[in-house]
Homo-oligomer: 167 residues x 2
DNA sequence: ACAGTGCACTTGAAGCTTCAAGTTGAAGCT
DNA sequence: AGCTTCAACTTGAAGCTTCAAGTGCACTGT
């Protein structure tokens, strides 16, 4: 590292670098973030021909009463822009897994609706995906270890969310 | 395939679904993974006009003796395909931040070399990025909490790596 | 009643990553 | 020397996300 990690008299422009332990832990975390989702997505695409976003759109729809949800609510839950979701749903619609209707109660909203074919697709795709999550995340950890981390991630998420309010 | 606890008699094809606590913790983790890097990248692009990959290529080059490294080694460290790296370095080269030369010792390798302008760019960009990492990751956690997580992420990383050997 | 405003999407273009083919340099074999 | 093979890139096309503009529905105030 050519970075100046010493506290003392660095030029004012020198970055306030991370402390040793923080830095290596952050690099460990960043590596995982850069690789885990793409790895899971690769398996999804190979096994089910769905990418991460498409899979989760189907999954979230399946969790709704009537398998129906407003696009804007879905975008929020999927951590997606409305634009991205719109493109994704158009693709899923062309494949027959989802259809769209204006919300009868308020025409400004659009309802995304899971079709029976879409539900079939999800049911067929889920087991391999769950297995991959176990293999890459749960199995390498001790039993119960991930549960302990849930609140930690939730706090990070809140900070990210605060930084992006009104994106 | 380890802990088949005494779950109710399910059909053989039934997936090992995630248990309640596992599931919510995994969703917390997945949400962070889906949002944190894009959020950091947004700030990088806004403040420095560099994306995540470009920034880290500059950063990794700056950590090398002579600010030089083989493309294939860089690709590995950046968790990137060689193809992706090649495109990224071409862009950085056009901006004058990096240049490439064949390795004089073995013409099959290509050396990526950080230019003075590239180093300037990194020094100018790092403080805001480090600050963003602090704000979104370090600050919401207790002091020392991230350090404890380093080994956890390393174990996950090893599992991901095992799943992707020879991609 | 109706122009103005604010959302909730939708669309098209641009940029980045991925995937599949190419190139090229070195080493091994004959 | 020549032939084969392998690894390290490079390149171009295709697909997905992002960004910036649209479009349309409903409410607001006059």
């Amino acid at each position: 590292m050519t970075k100046n990690t010493a506290d003392p008299p660095a030029p004012a422009a020198e970055p306030r670098w991370l402390q040793g332990g923080e830095l290596t832990a952050w690099m460990s975390m960043a590596r995982v973030m850069a690789r885990l989702l793409p790895a899971l997505e690769r398996e999804l695409e190979r096994d089910a021909d769905l990418n991460w976003m498409e899979y989760h759109v189907l999954a979230m729809l399946s969790e709704q009463e009537r398998h129906t949800i407003r696009m804007s609510v879905l975008a929020d839950r999927a951590s997606s822009s409305l634009s991205r979701l719109s493109h994704v749903v158009r693709r899923l619609e062309h494949q027959g897994f989802v259809r769209r209707e204006p919300d009868p109660g308020d025409g400004r909203y659009t309802l995304a609706i899971l079709t029976p074919e879409g539900y079939e697709k999800l049911v067929a795709s889920a087991p391999a995906h769950v297995e991959a999550v176990r293999r890459m995340v749960l199995d390498p950890l001790d039993p119960g270890e991930l549960e302990g981390l849930g609140p930690v991630f939730d706090r990070i998420y809140a900070a990210v969310d605060a930084a992006e309010r009104g994106r």
